[in-house]
Subunit: 175 residues, 2 copies
């Protein structure tokens, strides 16, 4: 396996978050700044974000739109961030993906972990956050410090400590 | 401005690439490996890639599908990579965006620079690379080492050395 920079090699998506740590304002600002400086087609920057810190009003509105079984672990993350995009073509979603990836790299640099969720009640979240029609929420990003995997319910614990898998490289290459 | 990890802070999208350096096989493998380990919804990994090294057959096929004014500078990059996705929803494009962002971070770690292009002849490229109907090319990524900005045509030189701009943070935050 080729060498990867540690900020990528050590990145993974946990469900065990430490329920006692918070995201301070400096950390939150640097995560959003990382997203802000991502590249985008024609520099349109089609990404928009809503950030809720644990127990605040925005956090509650985001949390209630997640599937119940995800709420169980996601509520322990220090913050929940909604990633949304303007426009309705694939390029806007693509650029949002880049921005959240940059945010994730910055989170790793800060010793934080990220777990993204794309299965949630989009219409409900748009209503809860009073989003205009042209702002499309696509992802909810749980951010926090790693917690104790043994505090997870048994059915999640195994996945937490399992080996990670990806398709073989050859299957990704065209032509 | 909050601190960013150097791999993000020093990233930008040049047009001046050094026409004499090549991308070696180890570098190419690590770029693709970075993309391969990106996160994706349900671990579907909807990204697919075609990589052309300068002057090889794949490179020629990719280059001819770029707008003429982009061909002028993109031909000096060490490699041209097509990023495509399976599926037709925004989540697949989003995940491709994450994968290319991870590749870009790895490129920065290797001392390489990346410039992405989303304006190209998609149908032409799908035909040139003989892509199946369900593989949708979305981006062409020029990768290489920084070159001399004074070797660029005058109309590109100013953009190359201009300050970078982003929307103010407040305009990105919802609610």
């Amino acid at each position: 396996m080729p060498d990867l920079t540690p900020l990528l090699a050590f990145r993974w998506s946990p469900r065990a978050f430490d329920p006692s740590t918070e995201l301070d304002l400096e950390e939150a600002a640097s995560l959003l700044e990382a997203a802000r400086w991502a590249p985008s087609a024609d520099n349109l920057q089609p990404w928009r974000f809503a950030l809720g810190h644990r127990e605040d009003e925005t956090w509650k509105r985001i949390l209630t739109c997640l599937p119940l079984d995800d709420q169980g672990w996601a509520r322990h993350a220090a913050a929940l961030l909604v990633g949304a995009h303007t426009g309705d073509d694939g390029r806007a979603a693509y650029d949002l993906g880049q921005a959240v990836a940059h945010l994730t790299v910055q989170a790793t640099a800060l010793g934080l972990h990220v777990h993204q969720l794309t299965r949630f009640d989009r219409a409900g979240l748009a209503a809860e956050l009073d989003l205009p029609d042209d702002i499309r929420p696509l992802v909810v990003v749980a951010v926090g410090r790693l917690g104790d995997p043994y505090a997870l319910p048994p059915e999640l614990r195994d996945a937490e400590t399992a080996l990670r898998h990806r398709r073989p490289m050859a299957s990704l290459l065209l032509g």
